[in-house]
Structures are given as C-alpha cells and as structure tokens.
Symmetry: C2
Subunit: 448 residues, 2 copies
Amino acid sequence: MDDIYAYIDAHAEEYIQALQALCRQPSIAAQGIGMEETAHMVLEMVRGVGAQAEQIPTGGYPVVYGELPGAGPRSLLIYDHYDVQPPEPLDLWDYPPFEATLAEGRIWARGVADNKGNLVARLCAVDAWLKVRGHLPLTLKFVFEGEEEIGSPNLEAFAEAYHPRYAADGCIWEAGYKDSRGRLQVYAGCKGITYVELRAQGAARDLHSANAAIVPNPAWRLVWALSTLKTPDERVAIQGFYDDVRPPTPRERELLADWEFDGPAYLENLGLAAFLRGADTEQAKADLIFQPTCNIAGIQSGYTGPGSKTVLPSQAFCKIDFRLVPDQSHRRVLRLLREHLDRHGFSDIQVVDLHGEDPARTDPDHPVVQAVLRAARRVYTQPPVMLPSMAGTGPMHALCARWGIPVVGAGVGHADSRNHAPNENIYVQDYIDGIKHMATVFQEFARE
Amino acid sequence: MDDIYAYIDAHAEEYIQALQALCRQPSIAAQGIGMEETAHMVLEMVRGVGAQAEQIPTGGYPVVYGELPGAGPRSLLIYDHYDVQPPEPLDLWDYPPFEATLAEGRIWARGVADNKGNLVARLCAVDAWLKVRGHLPLTLKFVFEGEEEIGSPNLEAFAEAYHPRYAADGCIWEAGYKDSRGRLQVYAGCKGITYVELRAQGAARDLHSANAAIVPNPAWRLVWALSTLKTPDERVAIQGFYDDVRPPTPRERELLADWEFDGPAYLENLGLAAFLRGADTEQAKADLIFQPTCNIAGIQSGYTGPGSKTVLPSQAFCKIDFRLVPDQSHRRVLRLLREHLDRHGFSDIQVVDLHGEDPARTDPDHPVVQAVLRAARRVYTQPPVMLPSMAGTGPMHALCARWGIPVVGAGVGHADSRNHAPNENIYVQDYIDGIKHMATVFQEFARE
C-alpha cells in the first residue's frame, strides 16, 4: 500500500481543501438550510472519483447514490450523511461553524467529525486508489443521505425500495472516533432511538402569573409527568422498559474489557466529579455501550429571557431521546411511554413521535469487521479498540441489519471532537490517516 | 363635578394622544430598553400639570417625584410606574406593542393597562381640575418608579430615604381592572412575591446525548427538584410554607362574597374546562385573593428549536414566582426553599434571589378606600366591587404599609386587558371614565 500512502501524503493539501469546501457549505436538515446545494455538491464529488451517481428522491432530502465497479468479487457499501446538526448556541464557538478554520492542527467546523470528514476521506481513498492503480480491488456502493441528524425519516422507505441495488457483502458506517488515548475505535453496532416531544397545554394564552392560584400551569404538568419517567436514581420508571434489554454476551464483555477507556480523563475533560450513579470506569464503559437511556434534550416554557417576568405560560414542551439497545424497539417504547403517562394521570400530555430507529449489532468476528481491524493495525501506530456497539445511534437497522448486511464503523474523529456541540473539530493528521485507513480497508476486505 | 367632567369630555382627544405618546415610547426595565427617555418624558408630563418635579436617582432607574399643593389639609400620594413588561412573544400581537393603535374601541399597547393608562389618566384628572377650578382641593404627591416590572429592587431604599417627604393621608395604587361584568374593582391590598431562578449545572459543555448513559443531565436534576416543590394536587410541599398564611377575616370574607366573579366566563375566555383543583367559582375567588402560589414562569434547557437535536445539555434553569399572602414574608420563603432543596438532596441546585416583596392589606373601612368607592358610584353606571386584596403584587409594603400609609387601588383596565401578555389593551371609554373617577376621588377624599 506504500504507493497509495505516498500519493495521499503528496495530495494532502488538495484533500484537506476538498473537506473544507464541503464544511463551508451549511447543510442543517433540522432547519432546512443549504440542503439542496449540499446534495448537488456531494453528487459532483462522487462523480468526481469516477462513480456512476445520481440523486434518489426520498420525499425529504435526496439520497446521493453511487456505484463504482472493481476488479474483485467482493462488494462494500459506504454509508455517510451530508447533513449536520444545528450549530446553536453560536456564541460558544471559538471559530465560526461554517468557515472550516485550520488552526491548532485541527479543522473546526460543524459536521467535520459528524460526518463530513469521513464522507470526504472515503472519497479521497477511492481517488488515491484509482490515480495510483487505475482500478479498485472491489466494488463500492455509496449511500449518502441528507437526513441522519433528524432521524433518517425517509431512509427506511428508501431501503425497502433500493436494498436489492445497494446490497453488499459489508458496510462501512458513517462516523467514528479515537478514544482519549488516541486509539482508533471500531464498532460493530449502534443503539436505537425513540425521539419524542411531550407537550402540555394550559390556558388559551399566556397570563399574568397572579392567575396561578386558579389556572393550571402546563409547565408544572410537564414537570410532574417527567418526574415519573425517570427517578433520581437514574432508572427509567416506565413499566416494561427494560424487559427487552439483551444482556451482553461473553464475547461482547471480553471486547469491552479490552477497551482502555480513560474514565478520569473523560471526567476531567467535562469538569465532572463522577459518572452517573457513581459508576466506576468499568461500569461506565458497560453503561455507555449496553445501557438504554432517557435523556431530556430540551425543555421550554414561559419567559426565559433576562430578568424576571411574572408570566403563567400557556404551553410547555420537552424533547426526549431514549437510546435503545437490542432487543428494544422504537414502536414498543413509544407504546410503553403512552401507557405509562395514561396510567400516571397524564393523559393530557401529548406525545409527538419525532422519530425512531431500532438498535443493531454485527458479529464482531465477521470478515468486514476483521478487515477494518487489520487495516487499522497497518495504518495506526496504536492498536485499534473493538467495541460491540457505539453509544450513539444511526439507521443501521433500517439500512443494513434488516437486509442482512453486516456493518462496521470507524472514522476520523477523536475523543474531544465535540460533535453535536460547539467547536466540533478533527485533527488534520487523523483525517489523512483516515484516508489511508479506508484505502487499506478496500485492500483487506477485497483479498479476504 | 359636572364642570370638570365636561372639560374632560371636551379634551378627550388630547388626553388620548398623551397616553398614546407615552405608550409609543418603549420602557422595558427587564431589558434596559428606553428607560432614560421614558423617565424624562414622564418628568415633563408631571411638570406639565404644574407640579414641582424631579428625578430622584435610585441606583437603578430613577423615581420621578412630584408635589402639587392644594387648598385643603388632606394629602394623597399617587403611585404609578413608567416601566412595562417585555413584549415577547412578538408574533402573537395583532397590533405592534409600541404603536398604541386605536382599534375596536380600544388602545392596544404594551403597558397601556399596566400601567401607563393609569399614570396618564391621573395626570389628566389633575389637568382638568386645574384648568376648570384653578387649584386642587388637596395636596398631591407623585411617586412614579421605573422598576416595578422587575420587582422594584431599589424602591425599598428610596422609601427609607424619602418617606418623610412623600408621606400622605392615603395612597392611590398603580393599576386596576373592571371585572368580566364591567364593574370597577377596588382593592385594598396586594400579594407579596418571591421570584427566584433555580439553576442546575451538568458537564462543562453540551454533549452528544449518547453520553447520557454516564453523564448527569442538569435538566433531569431540575425536573426532580421542581417535582418536590409542588405536588400534582397543587399544594406547595415546602415545609412551613403555609404556616404564616393568615386566615381571611369575616369582613374580608363578606367583601369577597359581594364580588360577582363570573367563573364560567373567565374559564371560557381562557379555553379552560375547570379551575385549578376543580374549584367552583366561590372557591376560585377565595383562592385568587387569599391563596399563595408557586408558579413556573419559565423553564429552559438544551435544544428548543425546530426538529430534533440529540443533545445532552450542560445547564438548566427555571424561573419561579411565589405569590405571598399576609403574613408570609419574602425572606422566610427564600430560607424555607433553600432548606427544602437541601433536605431533599438538591444542594446542587442554585437558588438565585431575583427579587422579593412582602404582602400588604389596608383596612377596607379606611377613609381613602371609602373615598374611592364613593367616587366610583358617582362616575360608573354599575356599582364598584371591593376586594380585600388584588391577586397580583406590588411594592405596597415597602412604599406604604411599612410607613403607615393606607393604600387603595382602582384603574382603567378591564377583564380582558391581557397585561403581561400579548395584545395588552384598554377601552378608550374606560380611560376617559378613569380620568373622571380620579378627579372625583380628589374631591371625595378632600372633603371627608
């Protein structure tokens, strides 16, 4: 692979500029900003490496789909997304979120870690292969969607219609991060999600709070309802919620034990005194990978500006994401939530299903997983870390697991990449290494 | 009084324009908008009716103070405020909040009911008296403050320094409202308030919500803490909170019974099925006047924009106002709240004291109260309603009750005036009648 690595090093500047160009184009699916422009830009990038590519309409933002035949019989699907999280709160960014500033050895931009850095790195790996060797050792297929950060509401329907076309022997998943000691994390699964908005309604309009003696306050209704969902011991109190949680296998536990997660560094980085429930590092690792969650992602009611305004609000809402683990399912959690609220006297609280995805896990001994690990051992100075699942969520089930396509993920992020938060960033060196790693994965998976 | 009434009718247009001019000048104390300009404008208005007037610095926004000697021995203090509530949410206003639009027989503006309409009406009553009779029948003193809507943080110190100067035989309080059947409400007291912000802190920054399995969420901490403050039966659960609540006297209960509060109309107007705790109309009346409250005025954490963002917030806050009744006190409630949180395991929740005022009540048989009632019977077609207290709060204790000055209030608002909410308004006719009423109060109190 040295010829290809040398080519990548020689063209590093060009590859960095390609990433900066994509990061400078906002693509905020939740706010409908820049999506069309970005889809077009990505389509041109896929065509630019020689693939047959098109935009496939989905009812939402299109999937950019591409195919590029190679010499060997193996086929590999690459899944990424071209949308990013909203950049707010803007005032907490040290570098503007859509300028892709190069500083302190990093590239700073919304989406650079999650996941434009990976999308572009993979295309650059293809580019380097073709420029050096003239052809790929295996067939590649690309599914680049534009709605991952809003829960991929149209990917399931896309998958149902197109899975015969994008079917492959394995799939490389979108993002990945080095751990706090700089070791590449490879994961073979993801959590599912149930994302809901709970809404409470009071009077027809906001009132002077003197009326609070006789008029119901929807913020109080919401607080009381929420306080029944999860108790201060951090247990989800929804009846049946934990019933479908599959205990980790011995092999999964073994993998987890190999993961040198630096608990004290993680805590220090976040200014925290302790993990949730006072867990030690080993327990925190297990929780991160195997525990479902119930998280308040946002809550709002009434006056939240400066100073004091004595208002009795007419509406209150809360955004909650549940992270699900095998064998929980979105549909069932949604039903249990509704039943729970009704049973606790909160039939007045509306549950809006904003999106859901089922969890997925790949056998850690599958060839595509092993190819990614072998490639990592060749490219990186430190050995990779294999995780049974990532702590986050993606439409792995809808796109792959459901159709029997094994999935594995690794990417160019690091432990302080701050995805979904201000100052998202990746190291330039990780980006270049990521290109080499992916080029090597093509080789390793093709020859297996 | 017919000569004065005729003068007021003949100059109605001029008096309406004076009110519009003041309403068009924003004066949002909570946001520091337009305060200096408004203080100057009010000073010129007070001087315009012939009073000796000055701005008295307070450390915050100044008090506009004025004195105007009259023929008789009696003195009357008039208390109003020139600041207004923030106008947000702006998109719910049918008429812009600072244009003072004349439409549908009403004037629409932030602050027109609370309480610029009263401030200007009282000055117009003085103007009419002087133009028609050449002199007042009693001495007037004016205290127009600029910080009522942010809890009068500097009025207590002002009162301590200046009470010998503004001392009077009675005080007319700032605002008032007709009930839903159009009868003038006269009140002889107000509730106190404890306005706090509760703050919870999590990690040093917002995180991807995948971390929720191991990182504490301050929004959950806040929800759990709040759920211990008040229970779903709408009782404040803070130990000792109700200890100092003075039961209503027989005279107060008698006054309340005379108040024909239209419960069904109130509910229908607000789109509500029932009063809090399922109270009937009589109970709702009693609750409104005699019950303390614990109201969530605002709560916020995390992502509250459109769509779904999977964030684990780093901070959460909640604004709460407690309305207090005699003999509760701000200082004690603040202490009980802190003790309650500590006792329930929420020492991590910060309590920020945004402001506090003690409750106050005047003897309903005091001459100044009786003068206001007699004047109302002369001016309005329907008999007035006497309430032992208003449901709202003002610095009555700090400015008057503490120094032995009896207070009574009535004003130009009506049951749908929407103070502190979008579309604040008063009827033009109520404004003109209010001028006549105040002119008559001068007469009635002077001759008592």
